[in-house]
């Protein structure tokens, strides 16, 4: 039975089109092999694995529909980023920023968009643009602080 966000048609379609969905039950009095392998300490915990099984993203705690979809798009971006498929990573991060600006991963998506842009072009301007964007939209976020070193990068060449 699909309950909570899983009862939402948009979530159902997104998960089925983009992922292999896997559910593993947790038993606190007798932790399962998978709970131990992935060090699960609270539920719900969501892990995004690449097709080889490697973990790229983890979320702990309940997520409403838009936050869940934003996290899943962001997780796809992280898989691409981690495997140096930078243009595909950029597309996923841009989607989070454009379509889910109020969702949890949006500030980190801006940060990683800047990093992926820099790695792809070898031009530092995307890093500075990430800083400017974070200061403008998410000035209180940790990601704005992490981007602070990029504030000195000139935008004009």
């Amino acid at each position: 039975m699909n309950t909570g966000p899983y009862s939402n048609e948009k979530v159902q379609k997104f998960i089925m089109e983009n992922f292999i969905p896997l559910k593993s039950q947790c038993l606190w009095d007798k932790p399962t092999e998978l709970m131990q392998k992935f060090e699960i300490k609270w539920t719900p915990t969501f892990i995004i694995h690449d097709p080889e099984g490697k973990e790229h993203h983890r979320i702990v705690g309940y997520l409403p529909v838009d936050d869940l979809i934003a996290q899943l798009i962001f997780a796809k971006g992280k898989i691409y980023f981690d495997t140096d498929r930078l243009l595909e990573a950029i597309a996923q991060f841009q989607t989070v920023i454009d379509q889910y600006p109020n969702a949890g991963p949006a500030p980190e998506a801006i940060f990683l968009l800047g990093v992926a842009g820099y790695k792809h072009t070898h031009d530092a301007k995307p890093l500075r643009q990430a800083y400017d964007r974070l200061i403008a939209k998410y000035p209180q976020s940790e990601w704005a602080r992490r981007a602070e070193p990029y504030s000195a990068i000139p935008l004009s060449t």
Binding site: E9, I15, L22, T43, F46, I47, I48, H49
Partner: protein, 32 residues
């Protein structure tokens, strides 16, 4: 309407992921 067709076995999910190229969305849940 598309129902989510959950896998329950990690190895089966891995095989399907390798075959399809899709990542795995792994939900650890507790029914208590």
């Amino acid at each position: 309407m598309v129902e989510i067709n959950w896998e329950r076995d990690f190895k089966t999910a891995l095989e399907k992921a390798k075959k399809s190229g899709k990542p795995i969305y792994h939900d650890f849940w507790f029914d208590g």
